[in-house]
Symmetry: C2
Subunit: 214 residues, 2 copies
DNA sequence: TTCAATATTTAGGAGTCCTAATATAGAGTC
DNA sequence: GACTCTATATTAGGACTCCTAAATATTGAA
């Protein structure tokens, strides 16, 4: 098979595709910046704060944004100046607690489905493909998390309430012990508010059951 | 099925996953910036120029980077100052032709596999999954291209040499009329130097044959 | 000759990013 | 009480990214 020898390895081509999508996303995020809008980093921060109504200290925000503390401080001050974020004293000495103002909350909710054009493109896949794609995305993100290449995510597959492949049938083989209900690959979450990491051994055992080695 | 009603729609969760990967990529690209290195936009431009040994005018570079002409002009001047890019007069009036210097070429080649950690994560999928993932990625990117959300890509599925599903067997059902050889989903390219767009009707017919509606 | 179209650059300003240095509050030590 | 250590955030300064609007230069057409 000639193409097996002349092709760039498939994993690299997949990576290139993901990188390309990343570029488009970044470029699009800037288009929405305008005078009224919010820049990419600011938008990202708004999303983080929406999921943390109890407030977050600056250091955590910086870590999740993947930028240095000064960069995060700058961005937060801009958001405060725009009236989208509030700074309050935090629990620890010298720490602050960042929260959304009502305006900020409204803006964060309005952009919850960002970017719609990518969601639209994903919807051109049929439902079974979407489920398979999500499952593989989960695998990729978990692999990065295990290598410390990405901050820990609140994913089903690392959750103490996760029970993979315990039900018959392909539609909903897994079980969520938090809501005590069965679910399938298409329901896998990357950002579950209820998620709590399981112990290391449980995680490993669950993973073997979820994704048996080929 | 309770999760069908309480879950965020699957396409949105997929989008969120892709967005997250995009964030990591951006953040990582900056870590490699340092005094010796190159910033994310500059690195992206280097990659574009590597694939265009004949040189590119500024406007095209700006379009492919997804930034305005002034931004691209700035970045190119910085690369020229760093000795990685050469500016020569272009074919059209007042136009310039941007190429890599030998140093630039060496750097671009050294980072061809960027980012390796993502390639590593993709490799944790088994080969069949990688092929399926690539195929879906192609679908998603094509959908974006059709909507004008992403600059045209040099993809197999829009190429005049593409003959989808003309061979028996699952391993290599497609045919590339340029090299006159069969190939499979795992060989699909997003960035083929030989690619030339097929006519609209051919593309549509090929697509129906490649991805029959569910 | 003048005008329009094209391609790039300049100007100016906000935002993103970094590293290094600088507060500042509290905890532990003498 | 003063000394120091640690954790957290900010300031300072510089390079780069990003935009819009305006300026510049060149060719080809009216």
């Amino acid at each position: 098979m000639i193409f097996d020898t002349i092709s760039e390895p498939i994993a690299r081509r997949v990576t290139a595709g993901l990188v390309r999508i990343g570029h488009v996303l970044r470029s699009r995020a800037w288009k929405g910046a305008g005078p009224a809008g919010v820049t990419p980093t600011q938008g990202h921060a708004l999303g983080l704060l929406r999921d943390a109504p109890e407030g977050l200290p600056l250091g955590i925000v910086a870590g999740r944004l993947g930028v240095s503390a000064p960069t995060a401080s700058d961005a937060m001050n801009t958001l405060v100046a725009k009236g989208l974020v509030l700074k309050a004293p935090g629990a620890k000495p010298r720490s602050i607690s960042l929260r959304l103002t009502p305006t900020g909350e409204a803006l964060a909710d309005a952009t919850r489905d960002w970017p719609a054009f990518l969601t639209g493109a994903v919807e051109t896949l049929d439902p079974a493909e979407q489920a398979a794609f999500l499952r593989m995305l989960v695998k990729i993100i978990r692999a990065m998390q295990q290598n410390g290449d990405i901050a820990p995510q609140k994913m089903c597959v690392t959750c103490r309430y996760f029970r993979p492949n315990v039900h018959e049938g392909a539609s909903a083989p897994h079980h969520c012990a938090f809501v005590d209900a069965p679910f399938g690959d298409r329901h896998l979450r990357l950002n579950c508010p209820e998620q709590e990491d399981a112990g290391e051994e449980t995680q490993a055992a669950n993973w073997r059951r979820f994704a048996p080695a080929a």
